[in-house]
């Protein structure tokens, strides 16, 4: 299979979707794509994700969105209504369970049945494919705000067909961001191809007058990911999506914890994406940003967890991200109760509202951080384009093969796994080992120097132990994992 970054003729989509819709019995419910488009057109503007994001961006407001999903339809609706009414969520999710993410619909069915018999959700999300079209529409219709599908599915074609026909107006994921952090054995050729299908489908809805928003998954493994890595993946997926006709994109970033780096990251993400999209012939795309509150380990104590959540909310607000994905005080314990989820939302919203008139002012440090992120990201993306001989899809595949792009702590065997990130003395994420990233000497020296300052402050040589200390640090109450 050779995947290239070229818009699919619509016949290719239509031919393939016949096969896709057969992969589970609910597929035939969405066979007539016109009905999906018609249904989408009946959805009021206030419930369209792209439109609500547009308004927020214009008003420089940061919207709040939780993660949430349970096994059964009525319980799922009750959960989302609670987060909407008691949590004040501006945007709603339907987080999909892990069996569905691996296309194991039979196991998801077993999870649904056991959830019915045991009276509690035995799935960690909402199995949208198994529930089928009408149940999914019931979810969308029961809520006042736009709903997005959030998942982690390498092959999300059937899920996309059902979600779009059911009135979901935003779809998370991408051929890289839902593969490398979410799969072990699936090639990038395959997932980029699967996601071209999804993007072409979104593009077709768009051509028929329906605005669907797409969101590459920004935080990747959520563990000490340097901004230039996640930016590179986000921009690659934006280009791949735009080629297939996607007009509305939300690009994501997971909080690192150092305020200057976080603000610099959100600002450069939008600036760089705009630049690369326009340079690749994709004008007039609606670009928004999403800031993920700390994705790593949380403290067990709820009061401390509120502190972590709040610091994420503060950074999101000062960076003026278009939306923020919210954690809960139960984060360390697994999936939260609906009450805890609503608490995380209310804490976040209080801070967002208090800070809506404030930004982080320009400073020497902020400008330097932005400059370094831009240089690094351009180095990675330009090497990707080059190795792809001018094709972004081929470039992405080869860049992962050769370690030009390398995501720390990813489970996929298609990821080089040679880089090692660690915090510097101010808590910003740097490269302890840059593996085969195509970085100039200037950038390398910058990282080395930053890490060396920390090593000196801690009187130890940087090593994997430092990385482990950093991974556990926030759970123990600190950002930088210092020796005690």
């Amino acid at each position: 299979m050779e995947v290239v970054n070229k818009k699919w003729p619509i016949e290719k989509l239509f031919a393939q979707r016949e096969e896709i819709l057969k992969t589970w019995e609910t597929g035939n419910e969405v066979a007539d794509i016109k009905k999906g488009i018609e249904y989408q057109k009946s959805i009021p503007k206030a419930k369209n994700f792209a439109k609500k994001l547009k308004e927020a961006k214009e008003n420089k407001v940061t919207l709040v969105q939780p993660r949430a999903g349970v096994a059964l339809v009525n319980e799922h609706i009750a959960l989302l209504q609670f987060l909407q009414d008691e949590g004040g969520a501006d945007l709603l999710p339907s987080t999909i369970d892990s069996y569905t993410r691996q296309n194991r619909y039979a196991e998801a069915q077993k999870g649904i049945e056991e959830s019915v018999s045991s009276g509690r959700s035995l799935l960690n999300g909402f199995p949208a494919v198994n529930h089928g079209l009408e149940n999914c529409r019931k979810v969308v219709e029961s809520l006042k705000s736009p709903v997005q599908v959030r998942h982690g599915t390498p092959d999300a074609r059937l899920l996309a067909e059902i979600a779009l026909a059911a009135g979901f107006t935003d779809y998370e994921g991408g051929g890289i961001s839902y593969n490398i952090p979410y799969a072990k054995d699936v090639s990038l050729e395959k997932t980029i191809y699967y996601w071209q299908y999804v993007d072409r489908l979104v593009g077709y809805y768009q051509e028929n007058g329906v605005e669907i928003n797409r969101e590459p998954f920004g935080p990747l493994t959520g563990t000490l990911v340097p901004p230039s890595i996640s930016h590179s993946v986000a921009i690659l997926e934006a280009i791949l999506a735009a080629e297939q006709g996607v007009m509305n994109l939300t690009l994501g970033y997971g909080q690192c914890g150092n305020l200057i780096q976080d603000v610099a990251a959100i600002q450069t993400l939008e600036e760089l994406a705009e630049e690369y999209l326009v340079n690749n012939g994709h004008e007039n795309r609606q670009l928004t940003t999403v800031f993920h509150q700390w994705m790593g380990g949380f403290p067990q104590d709820e009061a401390k967890a509120f502190g972590v959540i709040s610091w994420g909310a503060s950074a999101a607000a000062l960076a003026k991200a278009t939306k923020v994905i919210v954690k809960t005080p139960h984060e360390a314990m697994g999936i939260p109760t609906k009450e805890a989820n609503a608490q995380g939302l209310r804490t976040t919203k209080q801070i967002i509202n208090m800070l809506k008139d404030q930004t982080l002012p320009e400073s020497k440090q902020l400008l330097l951080e932005k400059e370094m992120i831009k240089k690094e990201t351009r180095a990675i993306l330009d090497a990707t384009y080059k190795i792809g001989e001018g094709d972004w899809a081929k470039g992405a595949i080869r860049a992962f093969e050769s370690g030009i792009i390398d995501i720390p702590f990813a489970p996929s065997r298609f990821n080089a796994g040679r880089i090692l990130p660690a915090r510097d003395n101010d808590g910003a994420i740097r490269l302890l080992d840059s593996g085969d990233l195509p970085l100039t000497k200037e950038i390398q020296d910058f990282h080395n120097e930053k890490i060396a300052i920390r090593g000196k402050a801690e009187d130890r040589d940087p090593s994997f132990q430092m990385v482990i200390d950093d991974i556990y640090a926030i759970g123990k109450g600190f950002l930088v994992g210092r020796p005690s």
Partner: protein
């Protein structure tokens, strides 16, 4: 028992790789020979790896809340494969939602696990337990 080989992995449809990589590092540092079957591992893969390498313990991680469904029957599969008395440990976020730990632990011990660990357990704890369990078995 002279082998110090152990099998580690993340069971089911779970893709949480970070803790897996840290356990790999920590147990290797502690002197064990670690066979790491990675994420998205089935019960069959755990058993097969343990049989093939003559492992003395299987350490199962589950971080995504489906642990109860995914782990049921693992002890039976070990018995069928002739390694019925291998040590079985499990840890992570084993159930969906915030639950009291003791009942959860009991569920997993009843399933045939020798030890079960709550969220946030440091690698050192299970390393020490494993060393104790292995020295008692001698």
């Amino acid at each position: 028992m002279s082998s110090n080989t152990i099998v580690i992995g993340v069971i089911g449809a779970d893709v949480h790789a970070v803790g897996n990589k840290i356990l790999d590092y920590a147990f290797t540092q502690a002197g064990f020979k670690v066979v790491n079957i990675g994420v998205l591992a089935s019960q069959e893969e755990f058993v097969k790896a343990a049989v093939e390498t003559g492992a003395v313990a299987i350490l199962v991680s589950s971080l995504y809340g489906h642990g109860e469904i995914d782990c049921r029957g693992l002890r039976d599969k070990c018995e069928e494969a002739g390694i019925g008395d291998i040590l079985l440990y499990v840890g992570g976020n084993l159930v969906v939602g915030k639950k009291e730990w003791e009942p959860v632990k009991k569920t997993f011990l009843n399933m045939g696990f020798d030890r079960a660990y709550p969220p946030g357990t440091a690698p050192e704890t299970s390393i020490e337990d494993l060393k104790n369990d292995l020295s008692q078995g001698e």
